[in-house]
């Protein structure tokens, strides 16, 4: 296979990869389809067309896969759109591994188009747009190269370099034009009334029904944003350092925490406890990175409601289900959610409604708890009985005597004992579990709370990252309800990802947010509104005095005109600039080589004059230089172009002479 054909196939395969990625970035495709397509693409890029011999037989595999997908749709475990997209990807993968012939090329490109359409159905985010552009560019280059290959007679070399440049330039302009068209012209949105869903790169964290101690804490270094919130009143702090409660656990069996609470009824709005005068209102958006159905709110949540579940097919209202332990879940599955919540300021909770069973569970200990735990608590507390004071004393002890680490390997039989008496190091779950259990041994009611700790100010609101996931202790205090006491050393509570990674992730997410608000969700209505706001004269007491648009419109128009003119000038200058002749590169190479050897041209000296002078002054250079210069002149001014590789052949004697000179 010729080099041109290999390049065409590689571009085609990479284009299919980009099209598949446009679906994959939604995070909704089943993992096994990702794996299969990845294998197919990798094999195709390596040139292993393993289905080439048995195309029809292997196509039967697709029928099997289609059956599996159809069954999963029927069973309700997979969405129909997602299943269709996954199947399109598998068809493309099958084609990639078949015989590379023009018919297959067309099928791969068609499958690519289907996948891009599928990607548009699954998500409309920045990553999708980038994949779409990559597919367009790669597929167009591949098709252009295919046309050129077809036009060249068999046996003749395909002028790849000569055609790739104009092809690339043409595609660049086409992409710019398409982008301008997409951005400037009004378009119909999928859902004129509501915002699009906001799926991203898939779930990276979530809250399980249980909390199991042990294992490595990789979550702490994940900078993905999982939650955006706008608070009223806004505390106006750069770092909020607040506890965002998701759920609580009351039962510990020595290995993991669970909750005995049973699901209660489902409603549009859930009231957990009475609100107060100082309630904090939150408008929260849970991003796909969260990947769980539990609502998160500032401590201590009182009411949650007005929830919208965003999915590939749009947004819809969802009911909320109240679980035991104050947990509230979305009923409708979605990729992302938005809702409102109100919370009491920390320490203001006085009315926590609990069942007797729940209340009794707050003092429960595992069946076989090491007696050293109780002894340790007793020793540290020295008779302190007041719950909050005791909890703070124990927390201070833990922070002082125990170290924080995310490097815990291997499961142990009794993780709490291992933490307290063996390793003496752990992460937030260990500290919170230890504090809770130590308190319980002394008859003080306590439970484990999990959620997030942090809140970083971004523009008008706050963001919480996956790395902010945290666990802490709730101490039940008579008359005050649950009081938060955190045993984890303060420095290790919030996200511990690298600053630069956090910055880059923040940048990407800011871009994505901007993309969503200004492009994806920028519907015809938004554009009309913006145009009207620009053209409409400013409202004021003298609004009838003029019907002309405000000055900023004129300013904007002038600025746009200037920018357009400048860009046009720049492009026209670039395009009209003479391109260096093919032979000029040879002259440049000669000048460069001689320059490196310390032999330089004089001001305004042409290569032939330079050669004449060197022939007189340095006769050793004449032998390689004279024929080279003569050939350069023929190629440059005598219309006898250099043959492929000829320049290098002409230069090599000069290189040898210069090397000899250098060595001597």
């Amino acid at each position: 296979m010729s080099g041109a054909s290999r390049l065409r196939l590689m571009l085609r395969d990479l284009g299919a990869g980009a099209a598949f990625a446009s679906m994959a970035v939604s995070g909704q495709l089943p993992a096994w389809t990702l794996l299969l397509f990845g294998l197919a693409l990798g094999s195709a890029l390596m040139g292993w067309r393993i289905f080439a011999q048995r195309t029809k037989a292997t196509a039967a595999l697709l029928l099997g896969v289609a059956g599996v997908l159809a069954f999963s749709v029927y069973a309700g475990s997979t969405d129909l759109v997602v299943a269709s997209c996954a199947f399109a990807g598998l068809i493309a993968g099958h084609r990639l591994l078949s015989t590379p012939e023009p018919r297959t090329d067309g099928q791969v490109q068609l499958a690519g188009l289907l996948m891009v359409a599928g990607g548009a159905a699954l998500s409309g985010e920045l990553a999708f747009a980038l994949c779409l552009v990559a597919f367009c560019v790669l597929a167009s280059l591949s098709m252009g190269l295919s046309v050129v290959e077809g036009a060249v007679p068999p046996g003749e070399p395909v002028p790849v370099r000569a055609v790739m440049r104009p092809l690339g330039l043409g595609i660049f302009f086409a992409v710019c034009g398409a982008a301008a068209f997409f951005l400037l012209f009004p378009r119909l949105n999928w859902n004129m009334a509501a915002r699009r869903s906001a799926p991203g790169l898939g779930a990276t964290t979530g809250l399980a029904d249980t909390v199991r101690l042990g294992g490595e804490g990789t979550l702490k270094s994940n900078p993905r944003v999982v939650l955006r919130a706008q608070l009223t009143p806004d505390p106006l702090q750069e770092r909020l350092d607040a506890y965002w409660l998701a759920r609580t656990y009351d039962t510990f069996d020595g290995q993991e925490w669970t909750s005995i609470g049973q699901p209660k009824r489902s409603r549009q709005r859930v009231t957990l406890r009475h609100g107060g005068e100082q309630s904090i209102h939150q408008r929260i958006e849970l991003l796909p990175a969260y990947g769980a159905t539990t609502l998160v709110a500032l401590e201590t949540p009182t009411r949650l409601g007005n929830a919208l579940a965003h999915s590939a097919t749009g947004s819809q209202r969802t009911s909320l289900t109240e679980m035991g332990g104050g947990e509230v879940r979305f009923q409708t599955p979605g990729i992302a959610y938005s809702y409102e919540a109100t919370s009491l300021p920390p320490g203001a909770d006085t009315t926590t409604p609990m069942s007797e069973a729940e209340r009794g569970q707050l003092l429960a200990l595992p069946d076989r708890l090491d007696p050293r735990v109780a002894a340790l608590a007793q020793r540290v507390l020295e008779g302190e009985k007041e719950p909050v004071a005791a909890a703070r004393k124990l927390a201070a002890f833990l922070q002082r005597e125990y170290s924080y680490t995310l490097e815990l390997s291997g499961d142990v039989e009794e993780p709490l004992v291992d933490f307290l008496f063996v390793r003496k190091a752990g992460h937030c779950e260990h500290f919170a579990t230890a504090l809770t259990l130590l308190l319980r041994t002394q008859g003080i009611s306590a439970r484990l709370a999990s959620g997030f700790f942090g809140g970083e100010r971004v523009e008008e609101g706050y963001v919480v990252r996956a790395g902010d996931a945290h666990a802490w202790t709730h101490v039940l205090t008579p008359g005050r309800g649950f009081v938060t006491v955190d045993a984890t050393p303060p420095a290790n509570r919030a996200s511990q990802s690298l600053a630069v990674l956090e910055f880059l992730t923040g940048l990407y997410e800011a871009l994505e947010t901007r993309w969503r608000s200004t492009v994806v969700d920028f519907s015809l209505r938004d554009q009309m509104q913006m145009a009207q706001s620009l053209v409409r004269p400013p409202r004021g007491p003298r609004r009838d005095s003029t019907r002309l648009p405000p000055a900023r419109v004129w300013g904007l128009a002038i600025a746009a005109g200037l920018v357009t003119y400048s860009v046009w000038q720049l492009f026209s200058r670039r395009l009209s600039a003479p391109k260096p002749h093919q032979a000029t590169h040879l002259a440049d190479a000669v000048e460069h080589l001689l320059g490196e050897a310390g032999v330089r041209m004089r001001e305004g000296e042409a290569l032939e004059e330079f050669t004449s002078r060197l022939t007189r002054e340095q006769p050793t250079l004449a032998a390689p230089l004279v024929p080279l210069t003569r050939r350069y002149l023929e190629a440059r001014f005598g219309q006898r172009p250099l043959q492929p590789g000829e320049a290098e052949r002409l230069l090599s004697p000069l290189r040898r002479v210069l090397q000899t000179r250098r060595a001597s």
């Binding site: 000029t584 042409a606 002149l633 440059r636 001014f637």
Partner: protein, 326 residues
């Protein structure tokens, strides 16, 4: 003696053309020793179909060079000494009345030769200079309402003394523009002069030179040279150089369009010396000063040798500044 090269007429090639040019130049160098560069430029000018202005003090070999050129090329030759009282008819010829037949017949003047040496051209009055001008420009003369063609190839080698300007009529710009090149022989180097003394007897006299080519072949050579390839970039380079002379602060009037054509023609002939059938920027530079220096009118209003020097320097400076195509 070398036999005349006749190959060019049958099948013009670059090598045959260069061979002829080399032989002519070798002949010139035999009688005007130590002036090889000027000899080659003279041949270049003749091959390009141009006239040559030799500007120098007397006694450096100008006449010898012209005569040797005529002999080497096998051209008919005449020498006209221009003086203040020389009339146009003295060079053009005149109508003679034949009483027997009561008719006038035209008696050709010395201009009716293939190579004319116009010695000390600037001493003749303007009317006579103008009579020469028509011959140089159009290859014909007009007298009493009738025109007579001059023999082809028609070439003028004129001389003038740039120092002794007393009682002379400086050539008008239009006439200077008709000369393809202005050359200066200058005094020979001391060693060459010494050799002249010692080898006086053995230096071949001009009369002893034999033709290495003929008028027919010279015309063919000219046609061949005029057809040599010139790349657009080289043509544009010549125009840029001319434009630079027009925009230079020290130059009152820069190169004319005729000058641009002259440089192009001379550069084509120059390319033959290198055995090439195409023109390079180097060819252009090689003929730039001899083709343009005498056509520039400088603001300093200097005359003679000083003007010649200054114009040459300005052109060399421009050749360095105007970027050649590469």
């Amino acid at each position: 003696m070398n036999p005349p090269v006749r190959a060019l007429v049958a099948a013009p090639t670059v090598d045959a053309a260069r061979q002829i040019m080399e032989r002519i130049a070798a002949h010139l160098s035999r009688v005007v020793q130590g002036k090889e560069a000027q000899a080659r430029l003279t041949v270049t000018s003749v091959v390009a179909g141009g006239h040559v202005l030799l500007e120098d003090v007397p006694g450096v070999g100008k006449t010898t060079l012209a005569e040797a050129l005529a002999r080497a090329c096998g051209l008919s030759f005449s020498r006209i000494q221009f003086t203040a009282d020389l009339m146009p008819t003295d060079i053009l010829g005149s109508q003679v009345f034949h009483a027997a037949s009561a008719t006038f017949t035209f008696r050709q003047g010395p201009l009716f030769r293939q190579l004319v040496l116009a010695d000390e051209l600037n001493r003749a009055p303007p009317r006579t200079q103008s009579a020469l001008l028509e011959g140089m420009a159009h290859g014909q003369v007009s007298l009493d309402g009738a025109t007579w063609p001059l023999p082809a190839p028609f070439t003028v080698v004129a001389t003038q003394n740039p120092v002794d300007l007393t009682g002379t009529y400086p050539l008008p710009d239009s006439q200077l523009d008709r000369f393809l090149m202005r050359l200066s022989l200058g005094h020979p180097a001391p060693d060459v002069e010494a050799r002249l003394l010692t080898t006086r007897g053995r230096t071949p006299p001009v009369e002893a030179l034999e033709a290495v080519t003929g008028p027919e072949e010279l015309l063919s050579l000219r046609a061949f040279a005029a057809e040599l390839r010139m790349d657009d970039a080289v043509a544009e380079y010549i125009v840029r150089l001319a434009q630079a002379t027009r925009e230079h602060g020290d130059i009152e009037r820069g190169a004319s369009t005729r000058a641009v054509l002259a440089v192009g023609g001379a550069a084509r002939a120059q390319a033959l010396w290198e055995g090439r059938d195409f023109v390079t920027p180097g060819d252009v530079r090689a003929v730039l000063v001899p083709c343009l220096a005498h056509r520039l009118m400088l603001r300093s209003n200097v005359q003679g040798a000083v003007a010649r020097e200054e114009a040459s320097h300005l052109l060399e400076e421009l050749a360095r500044k105007v970027v050649a195509p590469r």
